[in-house]
């Protein structure tokens, strides 16, 4: 069964992607529209699929994959099922970066792409600060440094909100922070795609360390695994994934925390085999949640991040309850 999980989840993600392409207020033929768009056509179907639904679907899949993968890697590194990828400080850094765009109107030449670009810069600055603060210490201190930088970014973000120039800027910023993959173009994928690839590469290269760490740092070290260097690469990979996804889509909460937990029993709890299934399950979940957002009655749009939080929070409570019972 464990071997079938990856192909099954890949099929699920693909099926949901096709459904997502077909979902919308206008009835269009997905395959015809997609083929037409790929061949450079500019029919109505091609424009609806290629310019609106495809970017949205691909972004939902990529953001979900990034968050699911980052969560699986970080929980494996810290050997804690309650670790959240936001702990790296990159997500708050990205949020602050994007907020400064709304506040100061920076990067006017980038247009709608500006918050994402500034978000990535914010994530990168947070990452550099975190690594500088952590110095040469181990995984625990790196995460503590991440938390410290995250707190600082959070405080600055609160200050930006506090001094918002006008209610519209603040509303725009708050809505952006709530998280969404709508009204984004394929150029956002150019930002998230490389981050997803590099982050995945960094984490995948350390999958054996994640497995070795199951029995503790001492055992991992005695198995010839470079714990200190490897844990840095994993944290760096997670920060890239989370920073880029927050920069592009705002805060999509609970995916990184819960997806690995739901998938873990399906891969016999092996942290190395959890990575790809978690990425695929995260992609499926965010794509599904985005479809749910679109299916809600028209009116004020429910933001994707709000929906994942509404679903995720009760699941998190259930998780804490289950963990608590083990300690009683």
């Amino acid at each position: 069964m464990a071997r079938l999980i990856t192909p099954l989840l890949a099929l699920l993600a693909l099926g949901l992607a096709l459904l997502s392409l077909g979902l919308g207020s206008t009835q269009v033929s997905v395959i015809t529209g997609l083929l037409d768009w790929l061949s450079g056509g500019n029919g109505a179907d091609a424009i609806v699929i290629g310019e609106i639904r495809l970017p949205r679907t691909l972004l939902a899949l990529a953001v979900g994959a990034a968050l699911g993968l980052a969560g699986a890697a970080l929980q494996g590194l810290l050997r804690n099922p309650l670790a959240d990828p936001g702990l790296t400080g990159a997500s708050q850094g990205a949020a602050l970066g994007a907020a400064t765009v709304f506040y100061f109107g920076l990067l006017p030449w980038a247009g709608a792409f500006a918050p994402a670009l500034a978000g990535l810069c914010g994530a990168a600055i947070a990452l550099v600060l975190m690594l500088a603060l952590a110095g040469s210490s181990g995984a625990g201190m790196v995460l503590l440094a991440g938390l410290a930088i995250s707190t600082l970014s959070g405080a600055l973000l609160a200050a930006v909100l506090n001094f918002a120039p006008n209610p519209y800027a603040m509303q725009e910023l708050v809505f952006w922070l709530l998280g969404s993959v709508s009204e984004r173009g394929l150029e956002h994928l150019l930002l998230l795609g490389p981050a997803l690839l590099i982050g995945f590469g960094l984490i995948w290269s350390q999958r054996r360390l994640l497995l070795g760490l199951s029995l503790g740092e001492q055992v991992a070290q005695s198995l010839g695994l470079a714990h200190k260097r490897g844990s840095r690469l994993i944290v760096l990979g997670c920060a890239l994934l989370v920073g880029a996804s927050v920069a592009v889509a705002g805060g999509i909460g609970f995916v990184g925390l819960l997806v690995p937990h739901l998938v873990r029993p399906l891969v016999r709890h092996r942290p190395d085999r959890l990575l790809i299934p978690s990425a695929l399950a995260g992609a499926s979940l965010v794509c599904l949640a985005d479809m749910a957002v679109r299916l809600l009655p028209p009116g004020r749009e429910l933001k994707l991040g709000v929906l994942t939080a509404l679903i995720g929070a009760p699941l998190f409570i259930w998780l804490v309850w289950k963990e608590r019972k083990q300690w009683i």
Binding site: R79, L211, S214, V219, S222, A226, H269, P271
Partner: protein, 242 residues
Amino acid sequence: MDLIRLDRLAVPGRLQPLRLALAPGEMLGVIGPNGAGKSTLLNALAGVQPYSGTLDYFGFDARRLGPKQRAQRIGFLPQSHHSAWSLCVEDVVALGRLPWGDEDAALIESAMARTGVLPWRRRKVAQLSGGEQARVWLARVLAGQPVLLLADEPVASLDLLHQRKVMELLREHARQDRAVVLSIHDLGLAARYCDKLCLLAEGQLLAFGTPREVLTEAHVAAAFQVEVHVDLDAQPPIILPK
């Protein structure tokens, strides 16, 4: 040629410079009171604790071995074990193949068979008793086929049956070109199963040699601060406080 040779090996503040050697086919017991430096010595041998001095492995400086090469040759069973995840027995044993980068099913199965954990291969390790778990942790190290097996108090907190089983497995491993170094508190078991003993106290080497050379009443009294009765001719050997 010696399998390992330690020359002025020391860990600042925890282990004074010591010199000893172990030949292939031998089992070395590291004995001494709590805080004597037994675990520190094993950690240094395993490469998880920085040390000064030299540690030669088959006449070759162990520092010049890469971490992977070292892990392929030296297997380490730490004192305390805990799996962060709810892994099954088979997956824990497969961890022993990490230095080799494979999951050789035949070697994993052989390690499980030798330790008698094969019937529980699909069970979660956390569901097993302490004695059963000890055999699983040992199977993990055996699956890596290390030339030198290091075990830090492998029989601590085990019942008599499991103590004997684990000691016999270690003894069986220390054959031909392989050797075992273990730290142990039970001096009777140490005398019965080990070829050589290394008696440590407060980070210093008090005695090194065969059990008969090391386990004298004077040595044991000096190390443990207690008068003891020693009868190494009894079967099994007896070392008891007076």
